[in-house]
Symmetry: C2
Subunit: 136 residues, 2 copies
Amino acid sequence: MNVETALEKLKEKGYKRTKQRERILEIFVKQDQYIAAKEILKEIQEDFPGVSYDTIYRNLYLLTDEEILEATELGGEKHFRLGCDTHGHHHHFICTECGKTKSIEFCPMNSINENLNGYDIENHKFEIYGKCPQCS
Amino acid sequence: MNVETALEKLKEKGYKRTKQRERILEIFVKQDQYIAAKEILKEIQEDFPGVSYDTIYRNLYLLTDEEILEATELGGEKHFRLGCDTHGHHHHFICTECGKTKSIEFCPMNSINENLNGYDIENHKFEIYGKCPQCS
DNA sequence: ATTTTAATTCGTAATCATTCTTATTTAAAT
DNA sequence: ATTTAAATAAGAATGATTACGAATTAAAAT
């Protein structure tokens, strides 16, 4: 997913193209890893000194709703990254030291054979935490 | 795990038996589901009007470290439940409506055959979210 | 090109969960 | 009964997130 494709997708839904939104997308395209809201803010302030957290969060949530970003909770903070839909659905190994991730193609939902009759499954989370080769 | 067993386990490590700690454990034994810190506080205040969040969190984290409780993040809040070590290691289906859980014996780490050479695995999380039979 | 409209942003305050600090209290060992 | 380390109370502080009114701006309509 690149910046233009994402902005196209938003335009179709009636969302406008703004400099701030474009800049946020650029950051995610450049850094392919989980990033916290405050880091996005810091980076954007170099170009737009006045951006507020409101703008950051509003956009992060919008982009997540539109499935352009995906979110996870790390150390009490929400983190976001570009949803790599090139790979299709997948999970992550997340380094607890540097935050870098490695995609995991294996999805437990394909292997599970547990009786969940009557349960309406909406979502699932599978993440492996540890040290990546560089940090261990 | 019952209250006495848990308190025994703590005593062996040199931790004291306090009314507040005992009461916290009772709540978890009675309600076998994920509970947020503020709900613990509310319930305990009926007996100890002065308890502070400090006491709640200190104990929740202590109990989690001692593997008496287990924790997960739900809706931006940490939630805790009694670690059901009778079942051994397992995961959960968590109802997004009422918070009730169903144990899942299947563990993806037993089925995964992904190349993670060089990665030092410390932990993992597998949870399924949705509506339980009562809520769907 | 101008106007209109709704979306978006800014600036700041408010909220909410969690953590910290210090003085005081308590369990349990001597 | 005394001592000592652990635990608690009370409230302030922090940090992430959310909320809100006013001002701005992108895009559509005229």
